[in-house]
């Protein structure tokens, strides 16, 4: 007699809980966006969109008149992101190809969790290692007097993003149908040719999605860049210049601002810009993944 009621309850409760959790996630995304927009939009009005995005001097606490241009900060973020991607990409892709195509299943089972474990290194620890070992090394190699620059930061950020890229690339490569490989090998090609001409093109959009997700991780990284990028305000001219990425700038200055002031709004406007950049990147990644799924079906 009780049985029917039980099923009803145990079926509906989880559905309710999971549904509510999913709704909550979406709700929080929307409210974060709205919060950033409401907090930051005043800055655009007061500063002017053109000066905000194209001015190269960000100095809200200037000795003279404050200046509000974030172009140097955007340049800092871009230099680190591009450089870090260039470093992480070959490594991530090689690891993925090795794991999915070359390594024995036993080896793969052992290596994959190990690589994913890199993701569990707190970024403050990576930053500290960079400060103590990598920065002096970079200074020595390039004959600089210190190693606090974009290159040092990029290498560390690349390490932080490596597991994301490697792991998702590996998933995509492994999910390429076995029939493709068999067909290719049946035509008498070598394993390398199969990888190069069949597996990678078949996984193409998925790989791009993995890279995009890695890029999202790279752009959002704060602690590492705060510690080793040097944070000088000058517009960077080479990858050996110190840079001040947007994330580091927010982290440094948010502590000193009075809630509601123009400086506070300006920092939220930077946050909004950052949010939109990562949002677009993640969206592109998502679209590519879905396109790939529809190919397969």
């Amino acid at each position: 007699m009780n049985f029917k009621k039980n099923v009803h309850f145990s079926e509906n409760l989880p559905r309710l809980i999971f549904g509510a959790t999913a709704a909550l996630t979406i709700l929080s995304l929307i409210s974060i966006f709205l919060f950033l927009l409401i907090s930051g939009v005043g800055a655009f009005k007061e500063i002017g969109i053109k000066e905000f995005f194209l001015g190269t001097n960000w100095n809200p606490t200037s000795f003279h008149t404050p200046s509000w241009g974030i172009f140097s900060l955007i340049a800092g973020t871009l230099i680190i992101s591009i450089l870090a991607l260039f470093i992480a990409l070959p490594f991530g892709l090689s690891i993925a190809i090795y794991l999915s195509e070359i390594a024995s299943p036993k080896m793969r089972e052992m290596l994959k969790p190990l690589i994913e474990m890199i993701a569990s290194i707190p970024s403050v620890v990576l930053g500290l290692l960079g400060l103590l070992f990598l920065a002096p090394l970079i200074a020595k190699i390039f004959h600089l007097s210190n190693g606090l620059n974009a290159l040092t930061a990029s290498i560390l950020v690349a390490i932080a993003a490596l597991p994301t890229i490697a792991s998702i690339c590996e998933d995509t490569l492994s999910s390429v149908s076995l029939r493709f490989r068999e067909a290719s090998l049946a035509l008498g090609t070598t394993k390398w040719t199969t990888i190069k001409k069949v597996v990678i093109p078949a996984a193409g959009s998925g790989l791009v999605a993995a890279i995009m997700l890695g890029l999202g991780r790279i752009i959002g990284e704060t602690m590492i860049v705060l510690m080793v990028a040097g944070n000088s305000r000058a517009f960077p001219h080479s990858f050996l210049d110190p840079v001040r990425p947007m994330t580091a700038n927010i982290a440094i200055e948010i502590k000193e601002v009075v809630v509601g002031s123009l400086h506070w709004q300006g920092l939220f406007a930077i946050g909004l810009t950052l949010f939109l950049i990562t949002f677009v990147i993640n969206l592109l990644a998502d679209i590519l993944v879905h396109r790939r799924h529809s190919y397969e079906n």
Binding site: N6, T61, S232, R233, A234, P242, I252
Partner: protein, 308 residues
């Protein structure tokens, strides 16, 4: 059925635990507490003072955190703390914001600090003029040979804009915006660490950071004596007599700010009086700072007299 019983058991335990914990909190007598925040230059000193103070006043709850003077003042204005450490004077703009928020800011002078100019030990520079330091940090002098050093690029190390030392040094020494090339470091210690590793580096830090644990000048950095102009003699910030007499050109008072006048005999008042006591001043000297001069003391006494 079992699952439902388990679910409700956990739910009830959770509710009881919650009630128990919250009740427990409200029944314990409220401790006297102080939240202090601000200047990184002052944070170690004030922690030492709090430690000594708590030995005499056990049971009180005082927390001290850093972050920079700007951080402390912002927290004071946002109503988050009881006392803000600041190595710079509060600006008119900030005082006005405080007024609008209904605060009656009170100023207390904690100690005097000789801001030290430091370079790498291998740097041959023997002394610098205030004007030269200003030009270096403005970015007008970019090579060490222009001030009598080697033919090498000057690497500037400074604090972040959250720092009172950053603001003081800019307003009183540089008197212009810092060169954008300056590397912005997290704290005094970060500047010391960077300069000791960088042969071409120059940095400015509170005098408390150029001495080791035995109160001796550190050997891994070089402290540069500073002269007001070409006619005057260069003075080291380690010369405490000179700093006290005002002969060292980059000496400054360091402050603590209160949101209101404290209540008579409150924990805050007792703590401020302790800081001014002989024992307090002894701790200040031990931390490498200098005790307040007579003028400062008069100002403090005036402020303490207003507490009713």
């Amino acid at each position: 059925m079992k699952k439902i019983i388990l679910f409700f058991t956990i739910l009830f335990i959770g509710i009881f635990a919650f009630i128990f914990l919250t009740q427990n909190q409200s029944t314990t007598p409220k401790k006297e507490s102080l939240v202090i925040k601000g200047s990184d230059t002052e944070v170690q000193l004030v922690s030492n003072l709090v430690e000594a103070f708590l030995e005499k006043n056990p049971g009180a709850d005082i927390s001290v955190t850093g972050g920079g003077s700007g951080v402390g003042i912002a927290a004071l204005l946002n109503g988050e703390i009881d006392l803000a450490n600041s190595s710079r004077k509060m600006e008119d703009k900030e005082l006005e914001q405080a007024k609008n928020k209904g605060l009656e800011i009170q100023e207390f002078i904690l100690a005097r600090d000789g801001l030290s100019i430091i370079v790498h030990p291998e740097n041959p520079i023997q002394q610098l003029l205030i004007d030269q330091i200003a030009k270096i940090y403005k970015g007008e002098i970019t090579n060490w040979k222009e001030v009598g050093g080697k033919d090498e690029k000057v690497i500037l190390y400074g604090r972040q804009s959250t720092s009172g030392t950053y603001v003081f040094f800019r307003n009183f020494v540089v008197q212009e915006d810092y060169s954008p090339e300056m590397l912005n470091m997290e704290g005094n210690q970060a500047i010391v660490d960077a300069v000791k590793a960088d042969k071409n580096g120059i940095g400015y830090v509170g005098v408390g950071y150029v001495k080791d644990e035995n109160n001796q000048p550190r050997s891994d950095i070089k402290i540069i004596p500073v002269a007001q102009d070409e006619k005057s003699e260069a003075v080291s910030p380690l010369n405490s007599e000179a700093v006290k007499q005002g002969k060292y050109p980059i000496a400054r008072p360091i402050f603590q700010y209160l949101p209101h006048l404290p209540q008579k005999n409150s924990l805050l008042e007792r703590f401020l009086r302790f800081e001014m006591s002989e024992q307090g001043q002894e701790i200040i000297k031990k931390a490498g700072f200098f005790s307040i001069n007579e003028e400062d003391e008069q100002k403090n006494q005036q402020f303490l007299k207003n507490i009713k």
